[in-house]
Amino acid sequence: MVDTCFLSRGLTTLAGLLLLPFGSLAASQIEDQAEQFFRSGHTNNWAVLVCTSRFWFNYRHVANTLSVYRSVKRLGIPDSHIVLMLADDMACNPRNPKPATVYSHKNMELNVYGDDVEVDYRSYEVTVENFLRVLTGRIPSSTPRSKRLLSDDRSNILIYMTGHGGNGFLKFQDSEEITNIELADAFEQMWQKRRYNELLFIIDTCQGASMYERFYSPNIMALASSQVGEDSLSHQPDPAVGVHLMDRYTFYVLEFLEEINPASQTNMNDLFQVCPRSLCVSTPGHRTDLFQRDPKNVLITDFFGSVRKVEITTETISLQPDSGVVESSYKKDQMVEELMEPLKYAEQLPVAQIIHQKPKLKDWHPPGGFILGLWALIIMVFFKTYGIKHMKFIF
């Protein structure tokens, strides 16, 4: 017994001595790996933006979602990678005094509807079931590509939800709710199938922090506009449109995002500071314990933007083309680039004439009755006052 004890100790010290040089090598490797650890390993970005309320007085929720949509598109995520769900159509609502617009700022400064909005789920298609189907991927096979979340294990996904919520639930369209447990289960299903690399969940509702309490899957970071027991307030009403245009939290987040460009290095800690209590009245919250990296190493563009990794092509293959019958048709079909005169469009609309128009000379008409009567009145009053003898000074 004692012999084996000594033997094992001797062996461990010997092993320790042998491993020392390996240890130093491993240390430098660990440093390399640690540096790489700070970078995210994603190759593509997706965004799922959901507005869950309908009716005209919930204009601000649609404006919230469209503002985030606009920022995300501006920073580079293409429409094919954005799933936009809007529960009601504010731009074409009969009560909208400015049709085809959704404004996010007082005095109608910023139209977030724009020309190229692509709404994937609209109106009554925004249901809890459809939302969960999008997240988990359990979609009927007839669904078109634009309505699917085709993410893989190297996708960073941004999920933004806004609407009316309560302690542990979010209301969809006044008729159903999604609970925080169902949301957490949906994220777990996404994780099991590795449908995301990292996930950023932002929610702007009353008592929003309750929605991320139950998450248990790794690599999720969550932000909410208010804590449990607090209400998220709206920002400003617009007298012309007649409703509140945006919620406070999203308004300040949008202001923050307007300063981000695709190459900026701002990190998540700055996003956590957006909208302090003095501006927002509610206390925004965040949850990072499930996230592997430190938030100060996470760039905003990791989730809101989409920067592709590219590589210069240096390898070429020299092919010997098939000769023979194809050769003759090749020569016949091939036409080289021609240098032509610059093409012009025919003058369909004489724009120059319209813009630099001289005012048309109107024909002269003798003054009408009203002018004559007016002048007669003036002259009569003049001569009545000063006497007729002054007439000789006029003529």
């Binding site: 790489q36 190759t43 094919s80 169902e182 590589e311 210069i312 092509t313 293959i317 680039e337 021609e338």
Partner: protein, 545 residues
């Protein structure tokens, strides 16, 4: 009167007790199990044990190699020993839960007459042409011909030759240990032509934990049943360029042969489009030294996104799309070159993004137009990079010509199929394991019968693929692995697996309490009362007696 009244109430009390007991029995014995059975989520039985057994599957990838010895390649007494088989097995050191072993089964034999005749020709190409005719090699297998030391088929300083069609030639040696030495050379050549560690590491890149951040660049396309290849010509300045683009002819000449050579790996569909007034999102800079415009390397990542929104894709298919763009720069910005990070212009004038596609800039000025032939050969190079078909690592002193007209050698296709099979098996195993884990965690997911049958089919396909891989039938192994992936994905993503909504545990209380409480309270109270009275009546005889 009082006595009969008392007896009557006694009888009623007894009857009442019996009724309450009867109610309670019915509720507990019949009602509770009935309620439990009818409200449980339906789960068809699944082979959980087999699924967990898949995780410890040992994959053995066998490469059957036929080694043919010509007459003077080895000493005579060694020739007497032919034919026999030598097996060389090696474990691939990957940190993955499936253990993968690579097994080269070399069958040594003597050369047949026509092979001798072919190998005594003077030129290696002619010899190859003669040898390729008789037998078409099965996928995954290789043939190595051993020629004599002084044979002039290969140049004198070259020890081996790797051909484009699963054939290689190695020089023999007249030495006592001829077989061992030749065996090692053969292993070197065969490994270059088939499985190496990096091929499998790239295939399993998504499943290995450490390579998440390091293998950023070499990220081949994920295995899929098919791919959609789209060629787009971007012409931002149609006023000044009238570009004629013979894409149909180019597709027929270069793209189709390559894709038909790759057809074993999936279904490919090709389309093309021309986009006018499509600009790159980046402004090129002017370089006065060469009086041309250039795109710096660090601005390239920002090029793709503004263009991608215009590209579109086929709405019908869900296959991944590979976009290949040819950009004709505006007259004001011609000629346009791409600079790499050292500032030198790139020869190919092209760059690619892993798992997306590639962009090539037509850098020529309008005065010296050039046909788009060069574009297509660069395209083949880009596609090979995207698929992860790397240039092979050749053993020293090896003669190698490169692919012929198709752009890919048949054994490179084999390597792709090996990698894809392993990747498919890894994906299918992960999917099935995730499904099993998910069913354990979330208790209200329904498993219908057809989902269960898909799971059984997937498990059977994985096992079949592993068997076929270990017996060296690559084509059927690849087909089985594809079926495994399809079935497992179909089972996991079946729309009926959406977990029942509004059934979290705390809400179950809210649903059942109004139903059960009014019914349960009287029963429980009466049971309690009966129990108390019975206890009292037990104690009473003690006191009175």
């Amino acid at each position: 009167m009082a006595a009969t009244g008392a007896a009557a109430t006694d009888l009623e009390v007894v009857r009442g007790k019996r009724a309450a007991l009867f109610f309670a029995t019915v509720v507990i014995v019949l009602g509770l199990p009935l309620w439990w059975k009818t409200t449980e989520t339906y789960r068809a039985p699944l082979p959980y044990s087999q699924i967990s057994g898949l995780n410890s599957l040992k994959l053995r990838l066998m490469v059957p190699v036929t080694v043919v010895f010509t007459q003077e390649s080895v000493p005579l007494d060694d020739q007497e020993k032919l034919p026999f088989t030598v097996v060389h097995e090696r474990e691939i050191p990957l940190k993955y839960k499936l253990k993968i072993k690579c097994r080269f089964q070399k069958a040594y034999r003597r050369a047949l007459d026509h092979e001798e005749a072919a190998l005594s020709l003077g030129n290696i190409q002619e010899a190859e042409a003669m040898l390729a005719e008789p037998s078409e090699q099965a996928e995954g297998s290789l043939t190595v011909y051993v020629i004599s030391e002084r044979c002039s088929l290969l140049p004198q300083d070259m020890m081996s030759y790797i051909g484009p069609k699963r054939m290689a030639v190695v020089r023999g040696i007249t030495h006592r240990e001829a077989f061992n030495i030749i065996g090692r050379r053969i292993i070197q050549v065969v490994q270059a032509m088939s499985l190496t560690e990096d091929v499998l590491a790239a295939a399993l890149a998504d499943h290995l934990p450490e390579d998440k951040w390091s293998s950023d660049k070499r990220r081949p396309l994920k295995s899929s049943l098919g791919y959609e290849i789209t060629f787009s010509l971007l012409n931002p300045d149609p006023k000044s360029h009238d570009v004629h683009w013979d894409i149909e002819g180019a597709v027929q000449r270069y793209v189709q042969p390559f894709l038909s050579a790759l057809s074993a790996a999936g279904n490919f569909s090709v389309d093309s489009q021309i986009l006018y007034y499509a600009v790159l999102g980046v402004n090129p800079r002017f370089d006065s030294a060469s009086s041309s415009y250039y795109l710096a390397a660090h601005s390239l990542p920002h090029v793709i996104n503004p263009v991608e929104s215009r590209l579109g894709s086929s709405a019908a298919s869900l296959y991944p799309v590979l976009n290949f763009l040819l950009y004709v720069p505006e007259l004001a910005h011609s000629p346009l070159y791409i600079q790499d990070k050292d500032g030198a212009p790139v020869a190919t004038n092209a760059f690619h993004s892993p798992r997306w596609g590639g962009i090539m800039v037509n850098g020529h000025t309008v005065q010296s137009p050039e046909p788009k032939v060069q574009g297509q050969t660069d395209w083949v190079g880009e596609v090979r990079l995207l698929f992860g078909i790397a240039q092979p690592q050749l053993p020293p002193k090896c003669l190698f010509f490169g692919p012929k007209s198709e752009g890919i050698m048949t054994w490179e296709l084999d390597r792709l199929l090996w990698a894809r099979s392993v990747e498919n098996l890894a994906t299918a195993t992960t999917t099935l394991t995730s499904l099993a884990q998910l069913l354990g965690k979330i208790s209200n997911i329904v498993i219908k019968d057809d989902v269960a049958s898909e799971v059984y089919r997937a498990v059977a396909a994985v096992q079949k693929a592993a068997e076929e891989l270990s017996s060296g039938h690559l084509a059927s192994a690849f087909a089985a692995s594809q079926e495994a992936v399809t079935s497992s994905e179909r089972a996991f993503f079946d729309p009926s697996l959406l977990h029942l909504l509004y059934f979290p545990d705390d809400q179950k209380f809210a649903i059942y309490i109004p139903l059960f409480l009014p019914m349960a309270v009287p029963i429980l109270l009466s049971l309690f009362k009966i129990f108390l009275e019975t206890r009292k009546s037990w104690k009473k005889p003690e006191k009175t007696d």
